[in-house]
């Protein structure tokens, strides 16, 4: 059974139908890709899966449990983590502090009485490891706002990883990166795939074809194609030869 599934999701904003009968399944341990042109509904799909929006119809399950309509924090506490297309960092915190607040044991520390001394040396150690995973070990003390763009993108991912998630949704992690930045990110994801279950939105197919085990293509709010990169490439070639070619 798949770790995370979406069944027949519908979502509309006012008159605009943004998701129409979207069904997806993400396997544990795999890298799944979601592809599609601008405005296709990819981010909205993530927003529905992670609890920001409640779907009008359909069901979302995680680890066999129905999580449809649960609040984002509730879903997050179950082990679903995500990054954002528009950078969402704690700008005045340092890179290390960004990771620290994301650690589940720091969050759980909220319930402890504040006067109790906390030995958070372990948390800091773990936070440093997370930073090292994305190559930011040298930036621990730099405020997030002061990091260069590419490193902010890396931190955006690291914060999602710090939550010790069972599945990670990355919304266009390559947005705004140049060729070199993309190459570095793709190398990073190749590393991470051994440790995490990943779902990545991307509208550049070259990037995903090299990384993903399975790819779903969303267009006008519908899943129009799905399969392994190889199968999709073959289909694409067939389509490219035909008349109905999309740019």
């Amino acid at each position: 059974m798949s770790l995370f599934t979406a069944e027949h999701l519908h979502k509309r904003f006012g008159d605009q139908v943004v998701l129409e009968d979207v069904s997806l399944a993400f396997e544990s341990g795999a890298v799944s890709g979601i592809m599609g042109p601008n405005g296709a509904g990819k981010s909205t799909c993530f927003n529905v899966l992670t609890g920001l929006h409640r779907p009008d119809r359909g069901r979302v399950t995680f680890d066999g449990e129905d999580i449809t309509g649960l609040a984002p924090d509730e879903i997050a506490r179950r082990g679903v983590s995500r990054s954002f297309q528009i950078m969402t960092l704690f700008d005045e915190f340092t890179a290390l502090e960004n990771i620290l607040v994301a650690l589940p044991e720091v969050r759980r520390g909220l319930g402890r009485p504040f006067w109790q001394p906390r030995a958070d040396a372990e948390a800091i150690e773990e936070a440093r490891e997370v930073l090292a995973q994305v190559g930011l070990e040298g930036r621990a003390g730099t405020p997030a706002a002061a990091l260069p763009y590419g490193e902010r993108r890396a931190l955006e991912i690291a914060v999602a990883l710090a939550a010790r998630p069972r599945i990670v949704f990355l919304d266009e992690p390559t947005q705004g990166l140049g060729t070199e930045g993309r190459a570095r990110l793709s190398a990073l994801i190749r590393e991470l795939r051994h440790r995490y279950t990943l779902v990545i939105i991307e509208h550049d197919m070259g990037f995903l074809f090299g990384l993903a085990d399975r790819i779903s293509v969303i267009h006008w709010g519908q899943v129009i194609a799905e399969g392994t990169p190889g199968a999709l490439r073959a289909k694409d070639r067939v389509r490219a030869a035909g008349p109905g070619r999309t740019p």
């Binding site: 984002p72 924090d73 506490r77 969402t88 005045e92 607040v101 720091v106 969050r107 909220l110 958070d120």
Partner: protein, 338 residues
């Protein structure tokens, strides 16, 4: 926030400097033209403003009706003295409980709001409490308020001391303030302190990291109400009365201005500075002109225009320019950890 060194000292060096000034104040106050009573007022308002800054500076939630909780604390203390004659400690305890309860109730209606809606709701609630204080004659004494709330003896277990003298009262308020500073520092360097700052910087991300944002906002609002209640109790003790004026919109505005002028967004000590500036302005400008508030208002506008991070922000920049990282600038207070 969360210290990267793994340990939060109970008392920092900045605190020691502050405590030294605080407890030596009666010795040098008259030499610089000040007096004990204004010291008491300043100590009380610092408690109020530090608690308020949990909300404004750290969580980024602007409350424009916080005077309500100061007022409720003052009334609760006053009533306890008039109707129960329960002594200082019971009175202050009741003041804190009453203000906490009121803030907790209000927070239920506020905690899912952000920005302007949050601010407007705080004004609305502030006005409701103010209105009740004026109209509920039987309990609050209406516009005149509660009068003749005599200062009782302060019981300290083995002995009790009279608070009739302003100097004694000052030391009492200063001692409470010192305890509050230590507690607040702890709170801010706990995971809770990290969480409220995270919510200020990015509420969405905090929620997607599993934080129960509503509950945290509720807690911080209620907590800051508790500090306001303590300040209110002390206020009534000092003034020997409680009256609705402190709950009015313009009185609520004072604590906002103090916090901003001092630099509550960039420094733990910002509100402290802001309160001192306010009371010095009141006394110095007030001795020259009746319209001192006008000048204070202009000062406020000038600070917001030219130095939006307040005194603490300016200080931090100057300290940075002097190039010495060792200067323990108050502005480094929040980030002193890493």
């Amino acid at each position: 926030m969360l210290t990267a060194r793994g340990k939060v000292p109970l008392v920092t060096r900045q605190m020691l400097v502050f405590f030294a000034l605080l407890f030596s104040y009666p010795l040098w106050a008259s030499a610089v033209g000040l007096y004990d009573y204004i010291g008491v007022e300043i100590a009380i308002w610092i408690i109020y403003a530090l608690g308020y800054n949990l909300l404004l500076g750290y969580t980024g939630l602007p409350s424009f009706g916080h005077g309500a909780f100061l007022g409720i604390g003052a009334y609760a203390y006053g009533l306890s003295q008039l109707d129960l004659s329960g002594g200082v400690w019971i009175g202050l305890l009741l003041a804190v409980c009453a203000a906490t309860a009121a803030a907790g109730l209000v927070a239920c209606f506020l905690s899912h709001r952000r920005g302007i809606y949050f601010a407007l709701m705080t004004i609305a609630f502030g006005q409701i409490f103010w209105f009740v204080a004026i109209k509920w004659h039987g309990v609050t004494g209406g516009e005149d308020g509660l009068l003749n709330v005599l200062r009782p003896e302060l019981g300290l277990g083995v002995a009790s001391i009279s608070l009739k003298s302003n100097t004694t009262l000052y030391y009492f308020a200063a001692a409470l303030l010192a305890v509050i500073v230590v507690i607040l520092w702890r709170v801010l360097h706990s995971p809770f302190g990290a969480a409220i700052q995270a919510i200020r910087m990015n509420e969405t991300r905090a929620r997607f990291l599993g934080y129960r944002v509503w509950l945290i906002k509720w807690s911080v609002f209620t907590l800051s109400g508790a500090f306001a209640g303590l300040a209110g109790g002390l206020f009534c003790l000092t003034q020997e009365s409680a009256y609705p004026d402190v709950m009015s919109l313009h009185a609520s505005g004072f604590v906002v201005m103090m916090t901003l002028i001092g630099g509550g967004f960039v420094s733990f000590w910002g509100p402290v500075v802001g309160v001192i500036v306010f009371f010095l302005a009141r006394d110095l400008l007030g001795s020259v002109t009746e319209a001192w508030l006008l000048w204070y208002g202009l000062l406020f506008m000038a600070v917001m225009l030219f130095e939006p991070e307040g005194v603490a922000g300016a200080w931090g920049r100057i300290a940075a320019r002097l190039g010495s990282q060792k200067v323990a600038a108050p502005a480094a207070g929040k980030e002193a950890s890493t």
